[in-house]
């Protein structure tokens, strides 16, 4: 009987055949901690009697949620983590590099066939590289830091096959929002979403990251794109050589098969207060907005900023709307600077912030007052996610965000 790519990753890393449903104590190739969940993970590591982390070179530490420190408490957390990094000899990227998930992928810290954990739910984004990557809590992370291993129930997989060519100004974000609306907020709980088909094969790494990033919004344990030439050339430029040839067998067992075609896909919007509450943009067009956020681990890459800037053109944004643009990392920021994208946003009236989680964190800055409405390229629209529980958050693509920023109401980017 054949195996899925995820079953193969666990089998390969454990040196024996394991199948979906089995529970295995598997070795960890990389563990990521940031400023919000990291301090507690370190505390738990110490409570467990941890003295030295399993491998200091396999621990990724950086700060992205509350940077520069927005409170004395945040500053103390940063100090605590810096001290731990120093004691352990862990290379701490501190607040310099950007949003954790973007940094892990762009620095080649997740590779095909690896098992990667992060103390953050959107860790599933690294599946875009062909790694098995999943978000865990701080106590599980404490355990992983100590032992370099963790219990996993090997997940079964839903095979998502996507065909067709994206229409103009329709993007992978619209696709993954449509899939989330279809599968539902718990439709993939404990499972892996395996993204395949022509559209995925033709998708750049930025788009694949957007899709894998939002797997958690369906309850999935991981999202994964089987590595191909796109993956290999991306990773080759990041010092990851000779990635494993790894793919699902044709006769692998899947929990479900889902087919999508993007050729007729319209821009999608997730309306408050659930991510699976998804409608075509036309249904909410004209909704007044107070704030637009273009950024996050979901949509803060250069490709996303460029797509937004293309729609914005030389227009200025509606002065009644606060437009906040945050590149996902220092490297993506530099790309956007060199391409003139940042200048275009600044000219249009946007506030451009240094790479970090921004308003998606719901605590640092860019918070909403009661009654306010935000349109955001990030991943969650839960009540209170970006400030007041009386505020509303809509989710969309970078193109829809830019079109809406021009008019001050939710706007179909295809008509701009």
């Amino acid at each position: 009987m054949g195996a899925t790519i995820v079953e193969k990753i666990f089998s390969s890393r454990c040196g024996k055949a394991v199948a979906a449903g089995e529970v295995v104590m598997a070795p960890i190739d990389r563990a990521m901690i940031h400023d919000i969940t990291g301090p507690l993970a370190i505390e738990k590591f110490k409570e467990m009697g941890g003295r030295k982390v399993f491998d200091r070179n396999r621990v990724v530490m950086l700060f992205d949620h509350q940077i520069p420190a927005d409170s004395i408490e945040a500053a103390q957390n940063h100090v605590f983590m810096r001290k731990f990094a120093e004691e352990q000899g862990i290379f701490n990227r501190d607040l310099r590099e950007g949003v954790c998930h973007q940094v892990v992928v762009e620095e080649g810290l997740a590779a095909p066939g690896e098992i990667v954990v992060g103390a953050d739910s959107h860790t599933c984004m690294y599946g875009a590289t062909g790694a098995f990557a999943t978000g865990i809590g701080s106590t599980d992370m404490g355990f992983a830091l100590k032992f370099g291993a963790l219990y996993f129930r090997v997940p079964d997989s839903i095979r998502i096959e996507v065909e067709g060519t994206f229409p103009r100004r329709v993007s992978p974000k619209d696709l993954i929002l449509a899939i989330t609306g279809d599968i539902g907020a718990d439709g993939a709980t404990y499972q892996t979403l395996e993204f395949t088909g022509n559209t995925v094969q033709n998708m750049d790494m930025a788009g694949r990251m957007t899709c894998c990033n939002m797997a958690i919004e369906m309850g999935a344990k991981a999202g994964i794109v089987p590595p191909d030439t796109v993956t290999r050339s991306y990773l080759a430029g990041r010092g990851v050589m000779a990635p494993l040839e790894i793919a699902s067998d044709p006769d692998a067992t899947y929990a479900e098969f889902k087919d999508y075609n993007v050729s007729t896909l319209e821009p999608q919007v997730a309306v408050p207060h659930n991510v699976d509450n998804v409608v075509p943009v036309g249904e909410v067009a004209g909704t007044p907005i107070d704030q637009v956020f273009i950024g996050s681990c979901t949509n803060g890459r250069f490709e996303d900023l460029a797509a937004a800037a293309e729609v914005a053109g030389t227009e200025t944004f509606d002065p009644k709307v606060r437009v906040i643009v945050i590149p996902a990392s220092r490297k993506e920021y530099l790309k956007a600077l060199k391409a003139g994208t940042i200048e275009r946003f600044v000219n249009a009236g946007a506030l451009v912030e240094a790479p970090c989680c921004g308003p998606c964190m719901g605590g640092a800055f860019g918070l909403l007052a009661p009654g306010e409405v935000s349109l955001s390229t990030s991943n969650r629209n839960f009540k209170g996610r970006q400030g007041s529980a009386e505020a509303k958050v809509y989710l969309c693509s970078p193109a829809t965000a830019a079109a809406s920023a021009i008019y001050g109401v939710i706007t179909d980017p295809r008509g701009v």
């Binding site: 454990c14 024996k16 394991v18 449903g21 089995e22 529970v23 295995v24 104590m25 598997a26 070795p27 919000i36 969940t37 301090p39 507690l40 505390e43 738990k44 409570e47 467990m48 009697g49 949620h65 509350q66 409170s71 408490e73 945040a74 957390n77 103390a119 953050d120 739910s121 860790t123 978000g135 865990i136 809590g137 701080s138 106590t139 599980d140 404490g142 355990f143 100590k146 032992f147 291993a149 219990y151 129930r153 907020a185 718990d186 709980t189 309850g219 344990k221 659930n274 964190m361 719901g362 605590g363 918070l367 969650r380 839960f382 009540k383 209170g384 996610r385 007041s388 529980a389 009386e390």
Partner: protein
């Protein structure tokens, strides 16, 4: 012991909003539990009260502050039709017992509830509800009193051992 009844898809931003994540003290976190979505919870909850919910309880962020806030509030058991994966693991790791029950629709807010974890039943208004067992490998962690205690006793990890 009374029931605090919630619906489907209770997310971890609702349990503890992002602006309180610099706090790690359970009692302090508990003061802000459900602050935006159910403001009467933090003041009204009593030790031993039980949260009963629909599907997908604890979806969203991996923040362990969520089960810690509930523990700080005195809640030791959450009963739901289903749990989001990360919250479920976090709950077991921190000593909050997440129990699956298919029939939570019949359980109402503020009802008196008795939970017997050994018999795996909950009794509400004279009616008995059956609670599903937790997976065997997690039971060991629960019996140890959470993952920290479990890890303390572990000499070395049983790497690559497989169970079901």
């Amino acid at each position: 012991m009374k029931v605090w009844k919630f619906g489907d898809d209770v997310d971890t931003d609702a349990i503890i909003p992002g602006r309180f994540l610099t706090i790690y003290n359970p009692m302090e976190l508990a003061k802000h539990a459900f602050e935006g979505t159910r403001p009467e919870f933090a003041m009204g909850v009593a030790r031993g009260d039980v949260i009963v919910a629909g599907r997908n309880f604890g979806c969203g962020s991996s923040r362990e502050h969520a089960p810690i806030a509930l523990l700080g509030a005195g809640v030791q058991v959450v009963i739901a039709k289903s749990f989001a994966r990360i919250f479920y693991r976090n709950a077991i790791n921190t000593g909050l017992l997440p129990l699956v029950c298919a029939e939570t629709d019949g359980i109402h807010d503020m009802s008196e509830i008795e939970v017997n974890t050994l018999k795996r039943i909950a009794v509400v208004e004279g009616k008995t509800y059956h609670l599903e067992p937790v997976p065997a490998f997690l039971k060991e962690i629960i019996e140890a009193g959470g993952l920290v205690e479990y890890a303390k006793k572990l000499e070395e990890v049983p790497l690559c051992t497989v169970s079901r």
